[in-house]
């Protein structure tokens, strides 16, 4: 397997591991084991653990941005907004994408790596701009949209069951998505 292909599979493994146990909680050995490669070899493919985390973060934002772009393609206004919401609820059925997002939010806050924090902020505001420009939504609509999304993230992260009262304010599609997320194997 070429180095580039290996790098790709390492990124995928890093997304999973960092999503589940966070930056400090995951060892490079855990990532290597998931890839099926010796731990020192990771340092041939990436300069260090931080670079691995950064690559996973990039991948996570790439997928989300692409999901939004594709969903809104050919649509505009309220239709585009709704399509993006739907697409997002599909995206985060991949629990690792969901949890890596949450991990990135806390990673941005701990000031150990200001450059990474800056990167995460930039990519987040990029998402904001994508939704705004593709839908022309008002400031209040945007806050509502992202607030909705962040609450879904939180409830799923917490593992609040789909039947719980906390989900009552959501439509059926969201509840269904929640039930499916929990059905995933770990």
């Amino acid at each position: 397997m070429s180095a580039d292909e290996r790098r790709e599979s390492v990124i995928r493994a890093a997304v999973v591991e960092f999503a589940r146990t966070g930056y400090h909680g995951t060892s490079t050995e855990a990532i290597a084991r998931r890839v099926g490669v010796s731990q020192p070899y990771l340092f041939r493919l990436f300069p260090g653990k931080q670079a691995l985390f950064r690559a996973a973060a990039e991948r996570c934002f790439d997928r989300t941005a692409e999901t939004f772009e594709v969903a809104a393609d050919g649509l505009s206004g309220a239709e585009a907004l709704e399509a993006m919401g739907e697409a997002y609820s599909l995206l985060i059925r991949d629990r690792d994408v969901l949890m890596l997002q949450m991990q990135l939010y806390v990673a941005a806050a701990s000031a150990e790596d200001p450059e990474l924090a800056d990167f995460i902020r930039r990519r987040w505001t990029e998402l904001w701009d994508i939704v705004r420009s593709r839908t022309g939504a008002s400031d209040e609509e945007l806050t509502g949209f992202f607030g909705h999304g962040m609450l879904i993230n939180t409830l799923l992260a917490l593992g609040i069951p789909a039947e719980d009262r906390c989900w009552d304010g959501f439509d059926g599609a969201c509840k269904l998505a929640a039930a499916e997320v929990y059905a995933q194997r770990r």
Copy 2:
């Protein structure tokens, strides 16, 4: 200083340290240093690191629940809801409370301690019930309220500046709160 008093100051230090660097990212030595006590002594006051984290989590939820209760005291309906929102935006000017919340959300997801995850879920739904029972808000209002809160949490955790477009959908009080949070010393 009595053991109980020490325990109290240890909890306060644990809240700060765990908030800033998460469970795996904080050493018991960092907590001990903040308390001004030797590291092994922590294990006389608490059975282990997990117990420290759990105590910090309890403290965090206690403060939030109490904030809600006090704010809504004597009020009802929309007035109570507004008062709770305002009180919350004051509470999270303490960046450590805010960040510990975020840390708890990711801690609940990583399945290394199911009992802790269960505890966090229980306390979260308790908050939900407090807001619902004190305000009589509809399911949609509740989702809006908590979604709003989770978005604020996220923006603050990310460190999105108060002047950024992401804050445009919020009222002046929220933006002011954001500016103040960032002015805090670390």
